[in-house]
Every structure is written in structure tokens, then in C-alpha cells.
């Protein structure tokens, strides 16, 4: 038989089988279900709002906050330094540059835990590493960081450190979110300049 006919039969056969292959694996979940489930039941995927407040106060560059609320809510206020990836748009490949991080910890937050956990499960399932959730979302942030007050006569060093951490994060949150958008970038630049002056660095 003609080699060309043999090759055609082979190609048609392979083509038919390709058509029955499961969904495009490049964009589907990479982890096995039991692997994803065991990761998801671990408490290690959560950061508390106090831990996030400390990251902000220390200007920790090893984490990236991802706000999964819609753009309008994000614009009204957000945790300083956050990136907005609305959950409605989460599967768009344009976000891969933020989601597929090896060196950064991605911390998801919404108003509550639900949407952040959807985002966590989808991004972890797709094989992106270093995903975390800020436990309680912005409601917990507001209750704990923005509204907390010390009541009493004596304060222990531990309470003092905790309160100072919350107070500084609250101050940054209020200052940044009270500025017009155009000034927010200037604010961060000014803050970095101030820090370099305190360290004895050059202006």
C-alpha cells in the first residue's frame, strides 16, 4: 500500500482520538483532587489580619495581596499595596503574571472568606504555588485592625506590640485610602524616601 495512504490513515486515527481527549489540560487543574483536598483542609493556608498588618508595617516585599472584589469596591478602599483581580474575571489568562508567582506569597482577600477561598482553590488547583487567604477578609480586618481599642489600666508588652501593630496599619490604611488615586503613588514614594533618610541613605 502507498505510504501516503498509510500516513493519512494514521493521522485520521490520531485526530479522532485527540477529539475525545479531556479538556485542554494547559488551562485545567493540574493537581490531583485528593492532593488539592488535603492542601485545602490545612490551616496553614491562612494568615490572620494581624499578620497581614505586620507585613504592611514592615513593607514586606515577599508577599502580594490580591483583592478579589470587583473594581468598584476596590477603588472605594483596599488594603495598601493590593492588586485587584476581580473574581468575575479570575480565569482570564492576563492575570497569570500575578498568579503564577514562585518567590511571592499570594494572599487573597474579599469582604469575607468565601470568594477568597474560591480563588485560592482555583489558583492552587491550576498549579500555582504560594497561595494563602487572609482569614475573615475585610470584615475581620475592619473589626480587628480598624476598630480595636485598648481598654484597661495596665498594658502588657505583648498587648502593646499588638496594639501598635494594628494602630500603624490602621493609620496607613486610612491615609492611603483617603488620598486621590493620583497621589497614592506619590505617597509610597515619599514613604520610601523617609525610610531611606532614617537609615542614613541618600536622597
Amino acid at each position: 500500500m502507498n505510504a501516503r495512504i498509510k500516513f493519512s490513515i494514521l493521522l485520521i486515527g490520531v485526530g479522532i482520538m485527540m477529539a475525545f481527549l479531556p479538556f485542554n489540560t494547559a488551562r485545567s487543574f493540574q493537581l490531583k483532587p485528593d492532593e488539592l483536598l488535603s492542601k485545602s483542609v490545612s490551616d496553614d493556608i491562612y494568615f490572620s489580619v494581624d499578620q497581614v498588618a505586620r507585613f504592611i508595617n514592615n513593607e514586606d516585599t515577599t508577599f502580594q495581596l490580591i483583592d478579589v472584589r470587583d473594581a468598584e469596591q476596590f477603588k472605594a478602599f483596599n488594603i495598601p499595596g493590593s492588586v485587584n483581580i476581580p473574581f468575575n474575571d479570575f480565569s482570564d489568562p492576563k492575570w497569570e503574571v500575578y498568579l503564577n508567582q514562585k518567590g511571592l506569597k499570594n494572599i487573597y482577600y474579599g469582604n469575607d472568606d468565601r470568594t477568597a477561598c474560591y480563588a485560592w482553590t482555583i489558583s492552587t488547583g491550576m498549579g500555582y504555588g504560594n497561595n494563602f487567604v487572609m482569614k475573615g477578609g475585610l470584615n475581620e480586618w475592619y473589626k480587628t485592625v480598624m476598630l480595636s481599642q485598648f481598654e484597661g489600666e495596665n498594658i502588657t508588652p505583648r498587648e502593646n506590640a499588638l496594639f501598635e501593630n494594628r494602630f500603624n496599619a490602621r493609620k496607613t490604611f486610612t491615609q492611603i485610602n483617603s488620598l486621590p488615586d493620583s497621589l497614592k503613588t506619590h505617597y509610597f514614594n515619599a514613604k520610601h524616601l523617609q525610610a531611606s533618610k532614617l537609615d542614613g541613605g541618600c536622597e
Binding site: 482520538m17 481527549l21 487543574f29 469575607d112 485560592w120 487567604v133 485610602n177
Partner: protein, 158 residues
């Protein structure tokens, strides 16, 4: 016959390929859904049902209580069974999901557990899944942020 003989290696190759495709296609331990469809299904909490809506539901349903050990959820719901989240993907439990023709309603006192389980099951191809929630709008911001109008860049004491 002669022609078949000359094609036997091609047929052998195609049969091996077919076996591999079938193994992959029918492997129950693989995700094969488009994550975009999972996002679509979860947008605006379309995958949720409140306690009040559940009471008024006319169709058959099965509530899966995902409570575990110390964190067991004490809420008593009609037509509910307990499947601890750790054992969700056990063979026996997967059979329950596969054989159920009714709406499956996931419940846990911790909303983050139900959210994660819902995504995993949705990705495994289970479509008639809802999350039982106490609130109609579970993702609402409960406070009101008041911007400080006195903030000026040049006056900032950082």
C-alpha cells in the same frame, strides 16, 4: 487481507493510543473542567441557597454536612448526611455524589470549607451543587469606611 497486513503496525499503534485515551478519559481522579466555567457558576453567589429557600424548595435534595470531629456542625437539617471534609473523596462518598439524582447541598459552619469543597466537586464534574448559607448576601462589607479628608501628602508625618 494483504492490505490489512501492511497496515497492522498502524492499527496496533492506534489501538495502544486508544487505550491510553480511554484510561485518561475515564479516570475518576482527574479534573477535566474549564476553571472559567467554575468561576461563572460561582459569580454573584448563584451557587448558594439560604435556609429559607431550602425550606421552600419543592424538589428533592440531599444535604451534605461537611463538619469534622471537633468542628462538627451541630445544625440539624432534614435529609442530611455527614461526610467529614477529609473523607470527601473516599470511594464510597464519591458514589453518593455520583448516584444522587437530587440537588446536592453542601453545608459547613465554616463558609471557607464549603467554598473550597464546592470548587473541587464542581471541577470533578458534579453540577447539581449548592452551598447552604445563612445570609442572602454572604459577601457584604458590614462596616462603613470613612476617609480622613484632612490627609494631605505634604502634611504626612510618616
Amino acid at each position: 487481507m494483504e492490505q490489512f497486513k501492511s497496515l497492522r503496525f498502524i492499527f496496533l499503534f492506534l489501538i495502544i493510543l486508544l487505550v491510553l485515551v480511554l484510561v485518561r478519559s475515564f479516570n475518576p481522579n482527574l479534573f477535566r473542567q474549564d476553571p472559567g466555567k467554575t468561576v461563572e457558576a460561582a459569580i454573584n453567589n448563584n451557587n448558594s441557597i439560604t435556609f429559607a429557600q431550602l425550606k421552600a424548595l419543592n424538589t428533592q435534595y440531599l444535604v451534605i454536612n461537611l463538619g469534622t470531629g471537633g468542628k462538627f456542625d451541630s445544625v440539624k437539617i432534614k435529609n442530611s448526611i455527614n461526610i467529614p471534609v477529609e473523607n470527601l473523596l473516599d470511594k464510597a462518598n464519591q458514589t453518593i455524589f455520583k448516584e444522587s439524582k437530587d440537588e446536592i447541598i453542601l453545608y459547613s459552619a465554616d463558609v471557607s470549607t464549603t467554598a473550597k469543597v464546592w470548587v473541587i466537586l464542581n471541577q470533578l464534574g458534579f453540577k447539581k451543587l449548592l452551598i447552604l448559607t445563612p445570609d442572602e448576601q454572604p459577601e457584604v462589607f458590614k462596616y462603613k469606611f470613612q476617609p480622613d479628608t484632612s490627609v494631605r501628602l505634604e502634611n504626612d508625618s510618616i
